[in-house]
Symmetry: C3
Subunit: 140 residues, 3 copies
């Protein structure tokens, strides 16, 4: 590892921190900024593949705006692959609570990042799942 | 970001690691050392605002000494704001288990740090909550 | 802290990330690579002390190959103790799901690392537990 890469790795860790925090604090304008304009995202178990910052942010917002959500990333493995490109793997856990259900999930993100003029952004995101537990309200 | 800041950021991550670990391992003397003498802390949903290292440590100890606790921080966003000052946001999760209840909570810390002679300390801490789930023993 | 240590600390964080991910993704050959050939491991509450990479990997595989597992590390405190040695503490949480049980646990790893020709490896690992909750299927 080259020491020069460490500031880039730290910047990507903070990028992913904003991804999680803006999602859970419902900060939609700030959330949009974490994605490249040409980003492509897919979150297992949803089959949808989203293209473009606007479509991605609208999709997340429609899915969770009225729900309590808690998303955490863990144990990043970030590789700087070029002057403006990087690759990352993150473990994740999430909690989504609606009026009539309670979902807990676990998995891994596999992502590509791009450094644009003003900082790193997520260009490609794919979530795979190890486990999802859903309980209905009647079981809580 | 300046590469010179990375050792400070790592030192603050380890400071916060000691905050969590000393709390959960009930190491009260070591826990006191993570706070500045003039620290100010508030943990939602408790309304109390604690002033000073001794009052803060006594408050934590009285609250959790006889309970099993598990506190984890996630996804730090740390900014070095001056030669001896820094600001941080952390996601968090906690588990508190007593004889007759089981609490799981989630939220964010927003904190200021100060670098004193021998290292970084927490000067201001405020916890806000996304979610708290409490179950009584009869429901477990 | 010396800035020169930061690349080593980041390499150890990624070593531990592979430990968790290869375990949960059941990548046994890659998992073996995270351990030194003379590694010694013990995972509370199991009393077994395992010696050597092959025995350690076989033990993990026998224990969890057919189970869904989710292991996360949190809040590392890593110290570089020599040119080729380091010490670390990690908080942890795990989830293990079998056909008839659901285990959630929490604790701390205390570990020694060694830098061999091609990178850092775990030489000694000891897990202690703060809490383990096991539910049988009939209670889920």
């Amino acid at each position: 590892m080259i020491a020069d890469q460490l500031p880039e790795i730290e910047a990507i860790r903070k990028l992913k921190a904003r991804y999680f925090r803006c999602m859970d604090q419902k900060r939609w304008d700030e959330l949009a900024e974490v994605f490249a304009h040409d980003a492509v995202c897919q979150w297992d178990p949803q089959p949808d593949v989203l293209h473009g910052r606007e479509a991605i942010t609208a999709y997340i917002r429609a899915g969770i705006e009225k729900l309590v959500t808690v998303h955490h990333g863990h144990m990043p493995e970030i590789e700087i692959t070029g002057p403006r490109t990087a690759h990352g793997i993150w473990a994740m856990s999430d909690l989504v609570v609606g009026e009539d259900f309670h979902l807990e999930g676990f998995g891994h993100y596999e992502e590509d990042y791009v450094k644009e003029g003003d900082g790193w952004r997520i260009r490609r995101l794919r979530l795979t799942r190890l486990r999802v537990d859903v309980r209905k309200k009647s079981e809580l």
